[in-house]
Symmetry: C2
Subunit: 358 residues, 2 copies
């Protein structure tokens, strides 16, 4: 009991496969009676076109692949959400391939995409352009989002991690903090390194010393790193975490240690994942409109696919935007009545909207 093919339909409708194809694709002239008979047969046989076969014959899969390092945390899930809705809008399917911790794995994943997809979005913070190019046999449209240096000559979208980090640190300085530590992302990760560099630059410019502990972008690593900072007896009054998840981990560690945030120590994260607005104190962070970025990435890739000219080699840069919440001491608890269980904070409920708009 196998699935019906276009042949079965043709046979039952007593027409040729070509006619069936014409009817189904609305291409070419078809007489009304023929058309009717075909549709009847399709209905009777529950026929559904075999997209694999169609792809082979049209060299069009209507699918795009997404190469990711891993799927932990909210960043990537938000991104996928954005990609997915855009894909649907443009009539594309999405095939995801994650857990590529090094360049080799990512490279293998890219190769395995040949014949499955019409284009690729690559987020591999460990892979440079050269490495990537080598993985790319056959001219498959690729959009790079590997957060590295502007990989010249390839269409790409990068986040201004350096600039964002500088802004974050400046914000902490603006609130009067001077002993500011940084929890960095994993070494070798291009995004992590840019943010670290931005932190370093901003601190140097202010004539301040730096304190850096390495994490791996997970909440647990942020927790550990913060615990270490406390144990080291550092008298900190500010923390810039390499991403929100680590910042959240640090927040909890501070809380466990009896440190009040933002009174004792102010915290700023990076990414603005949905959870950032939901923790207490809510997290000041550098906002990347993640899902939105995903949408535009997919849209751009579709452009690359459909206008198969190599014209678009621009490097869009996404500039993160400072979102001030409670953790940096500038937003108040949005309580309306007595907030007996919370320490008073500086200002009124001016940031209520911001806290909610996640």
């Amino acid at each position: 009991m196998k699935a019906a093919t276009i042949r079965d339909v043709a046979l039952r409708a007593t027409v040729s496969v070509a006619s069936v194809s014409r009817v189904l694709n609305g291409a070419g002239p078809v007489a009304e009676p023929t058309r009717r008979r075909v549709l009847e047969a399709v209905e009777a046989l529950q026929y559904v076109p075999h997209s694999g076969a169609r792809s082979l014959s049209t060299s069009k899969t209507n699918t795009v692949g997404v190469i990711l390092p891993d799927l932990f945390g909210e960043f990537f899930s938000e991104l996928i959400r954005g990609l997915d809705v855009a894909a649907r809008e443009h009539g594309y399917h999405l095939i995801v391939s994650s857990s590529h911790d090094d360049a080799d794995e990512a490279s293998a994943a890219i190769r395995s995409m040949r014949g499955r997809v019409d284009g690729l979005i690559v987020l591999s913070p460990h892979m440079d352009a050269a490495n990537l190019a080598a993985s790319l046999a056959g001219r498959l449209p690729v959009l790079l989002m590997n957060g590295g240096a502007t990989d010249a000559g390839r269409p790409s979208i990068v986040v201004d991690n350096h600039g964002g980090a500088v802004t974050a640190v400046k914000h902490l300085l603006d609130t009067g903090r001077t002993r500011i530590a940084h929890i960095a992302g994993p070494a070798g990760n291009l995004e992590a390194e840019s943010r670290l560099a931005g932190y370093g630059e901003a601190m140097a410019r202010a004539g301040l010393e730096t304190t850096v502990v390495e994490g791996d972008f997970t909440q647990a690593s942020g927790h550990r790193a913060a615990a270490r900072l406390i144990a080291d007896g550092q008298s900190l009054d500010g923390l810039f975490a390499g991403n929100d998840m680590m910042a959240v981990g640090a927040l909890l560690a501070f809380q466990e240690a009896g440190l009040r945030c933002p009174e004792d120590i102010a915290v700023v994260g990076f990414d603005d994942v949905p959870i950032a607005g939901l923790v207490r104190p809510s997290l000041t962070t550098m906002r990347i409109r993640i899902a939105e970025t995903g949408r535009s990435a997919l849209k751009r890739l579709v452009g690359l696919i459909e206008a198969n000219t190599g014209a678009d080699v621009a490097c869009d840069v996404v500039r993160p935007e400072l979102v001030i919440r409670q953790s940096s001491g500038q937003a108040a608890t949005p309580d309306r009545r007595a907030a007996a269980n919370r320490a008073p904070t500086a200002t009124g409920s001016s940031q209520l909207g911001e806290v909610r708009d996640v």
Copy 2:
């Protein structure tokens, strides 16, 4: 400048395409010199097999499709993570198709999968078995996770939503709460309805009246629903939310209204998404090991695909497990030093591990 095909390789290595295929797939006998020449040609031409063509000829795509209602919230992203790692382990790719709000859309999505995948995992809380069967031309292995009644005759995994809801409400009763409201998921959603029914049953059994407000599983809807409950002047002391995201929304609404949780009102959620352990107060909830469930779902589907017998028609049931945290008043703030900014809670730090183990 097109990508090289197996023919190009054969030509360059002066062998037949069959030999190339044999070398690349390690199937059949190949003489060493032949083998070497083929590999050289592959290298020189940067040849990568076209998996679409391979699929057509082997009727094997090594891809599984996942049909989802949407991608909001952490539940689905956690699930996808579990599915993805398991897929990788088993040598499969994952193609996701989401945003299917009604049965028709889901049905169309399922059809569009023919020829792309070897099997399907369907999460469509709106689609019953009959509807699904109609969408399935050709016998494609399908694993159902639509949370509905045990769809007899089809392999499926269901969460014991009813039992979980009863447990959740019982827990609230155990802590001495009696005026317990429920924020339900969207009408028509099978999971939401089971949880609602469980709530109703547990309340009835305790001889208590019910209060239900409808939400849609989003954090915002939970916030709105809680606000409505407050505005209605209900003197509640307990809340069972249909899922964690709505519970988190409610938590914030209570906070804004000056209600203390758990002192004034205890809250229990459902799912145990990662965020549940990170909000404050941390959220008591019914734990579903989401990623783990995804892993086993994929594993089971692979079993269905590879042993193509219709033997497996069981309905695995996942029993949610109560995780007690701060929001139901039984777990303490895990502060070590002075916790001046927090109201005292009932017990010591006995639940510290549970709060952390997310």
